[in-house]
Subunit: 425 residues, 2 copies
């Protein structure tokens, strides 16, 4: 069979950092049928070790969108604003396919850009934007979405997972674990995007749209980072059989759906609990296959470059998917479920003065709010004269949990505000 492979394809690469260079090196080495015509760099005068031969360098990314010789623009600039936004929009308007690793851009401007793409009969491929080398976009977009997906969730930020692993396994504090991650090159440009959960939120927003066929709506995603997790949370969690992971979760509940990112207690024998360090993992639950699990490196020059390469080869062999699998004009309307109306079991950590009657007061508050206790434990706090109380609750609506927590916080003998972590699964 003759594969309808485009014999020679001309591409432009915008952005020449870790991702852009990683991709360029692979193409240069292994894919002689791909012709890199132009590369847009931030700084034209910077000395580089690469021999660009006939490749034209430019500092104006938008030139790639305007270059009539270029078939495909590979956007590795990052960020939801210009120059990435203008480049992608112009390229699509000029009927060029776009490949991007830019989850922020798609999470914020995805609906608009996909409409432009569809109107111009071109597509946007973004395997590299979610879970790096793990082929999860292809798996959902071309395969699992036909099975009525009810939930998709996972570890979507390698930096956070690395930090949580180091805290848990080596007892490092948050700041020192973050520094390690940055040294290893896992962290996003702005570390707040990682540790505050924004990067994972970009990704779960996209996965949610892929899975449920809903418009991309980043503003609906509830976001909470890992910056308030303390070392003793890991040991308390362990005593109850849990680990702590930052998860991105999208879930259908009847005619509602929810998108959220927050630290979770997960059962230590679950697949997701065992995904360590910088690894990413995505779990898909659908009505046909049941549960599928995908695990692999979520970042780095080689995995991300490989994901872009695979996207490019799909275009070359004419496997053109709609960006969301189905048309953006035919998405379904599901109502967004506010996290306050969602129900969870909670891990509550309360540091109290070690005095008679404190526990009774707390249990009174919980009982009054109809929150029942599944397990609990009290130990001496590291602060003399104080005790740490950890409670695992049964399922309760978030708004009620928040109300009860406020009441506990208002107690006189509470040292710090109550720490709570939702329990998943």
């Amino acid at each position: 069979m003759k594969l309808k492979m485009i014999k020679k394809i001309n591409i432009g690469i915008a952005g020449f950092g870790t991702v852009g260079q990683g991709f360029f090196n692979q193409i240069n080495k292994f894919h002689k049928d791909v012709n890199v015509l132009q590369i847009a760099v931030k700084n034209l005068t910077k000395k580089r070790k690469i021999n660009f031969k006939k490749i034209k360098l430019t500092s104006k990314a938008n030139e790639l969108a305007e270059n009539p010789e270029i078939h495909v623009v590979v956007e590795c600039i990052g960020g939801s604003k210009d120059p990435a936004y203008a480049l992608v929009k112009n390229a699509l308007n000029n009927k060029k396919h776009v490949i991007t690793a830019n989850k922020a851009l798609l999470a914020i401007h995805g609906n608009e850009l996909i409409k432009v793409a569809e109107a111009n009969n071109v597509t946007i491929n973004y395997e590299a934007a979610i879970a790096g080398g793990v082929p999860i976009v292809k798996a959902v977009r071309e395969n699992l979405r036909h099975n009525n997906i009810v939930k998709i969730y996972g570890i979507l930020n390698g930096t956070c997972n690395y930090i949580l692993t180091k805290m848990e396994q080596e007892g490092k504090n948050f700041a020192s674990a973050l520094k390690d991650a940055q040294k290893l090159g896992y962290a996003e440009l702005d570390p707040a995007f990682d540790i505050k959960g924004v990067d994972a939120a970009h990704k779960i927003t996209l996965l949610s749209s892929l899975a449920f066929n809903v418009p991309i709506k980043f503003s609906s995603t509830y976001i909470e980072g890992i910056d308030k997790i303390e070392l003793d949370d890991f040991s308390f969690a362990k005593e109850f059989g849990y680990k702590i992971k930052l998860l991105g979760i999208a879930e259908k509940k009847g005619s509602f759906y929810e998108q959220r990112v927050h630290p979770c207690l997960v059962k230590e024998d679950s697949e997701i609990a065992k995904v360590e360090n910088e690894l990413n993992a995505v779990v898909v639950i659908d009505e046909m296959v049941g549960k599928s699990v995908f695990i692999g490196p979520g970042a780095g020059a080689k995995p991300t470059g490989a994901a872009i390469t695979a996207d490019l080869i799909d275009l070359m062999r004419n496997n053109i998917s709609l960006p969301l699998g189905g048309s953006i004009m035919e998405t379904v309307k599901l109502k967004n479920l506010n996290i306050l109306d969602s129900s969870f079991a909670y891990y509550l950590k309360i540091i109290v003065k070690d005095e008679v009657g404190v526990m009774r007061k707390i249990t009174n508050i919980l009982a009054r709010n109809k929150i029942s206790i599944d397990q609990q434990k009290q130990v001496h706090s590291s602060k003399k004269g104080y005790a740490s109380i950890v409670i695992i609750t049964h399922n309760i609506k978030e708004k009620i949990a928040i109300k009860a927590i406020k009441e506990i916080n208002n107690m006189k003998r509470i040292n710090n505000k109550v720490k709570f972590i939702r329990i998943e699964g």
Copy 2:
């Protein structure tokens, strides 16, 4: 963008057992754009609860290949012989795409059938043939194969994994665990195909060709089943930090490659060790992404049906892949590495008369063959007057291990033949 989706496609389904019916139900319920024209069944007179409406039933599978109205033949008969073989070959010769769940057919006749497919400009899709609902064929064929895969391995037979899990966790013996698996519908028609490792060997043979771009060569696959695993092997393995899994493994070693299926001791904290019951898992190691792990249900009407549906949708939206990703005419020639020339660490279980000097004799044999001991343990055997010795060796070439084992077997005070299990990873 208008997706080049074939508006209305006519298909024929051959074989109406678990897989055929599972697929039919999904198509019937969710994919009104797919027109089932004809179904080939074994027994035309059998009473069925399904309303076939205008669908023509036939007992002659080959009619589907001859029917000019049918675009795609879905082969769910199974087995490497006729009628499956003739049907698939004729359908391809009549320029119909074929979708099949039949790993035996492809493992035995794959090269020939793929040549016929390529010559007729049609393809063979077989996502359902390997690891059921896990989209591993797509992931390797369209994505990871570009990354220079060096190893692909996994748990490829749900029945065996179910049996091993029940033996380990519930202390069931082999026969009773097999019965459970059969009751649950996991087992192949011929249970020997499962427990002797043949089914997993079919699958790893195909994955090997997909991953390494080599011709399909089932006869090169070394095969050993799980029928000699005993209950105490699980507890001994556990003491050294291992679990026992039946793995299919394909690995590139320089200009050689190997394909093998056998029980393995795997580290209990490895991803693969945690894959339990009827679940399947595939691990891919390549030079770009590193390690990717895919886990999901490997069998059952719904997952298998969903895999066939995804294959069909790929054809409808014109994502036509070459059966092996690259052309069968351009496969590479790698030499097959005989398992005797491969090296492993071994688990050896030796039951000996509990007498002075036995252990010295065994260690003498090992030392003479330059096999060094990593760990070892001796306990009273359940048979009075005997001891069980378990030895974990360092890496040694298989042919030397086999020679040493023969020498131990020839010792006078050995009760049973030495049991050995290779250690993986």
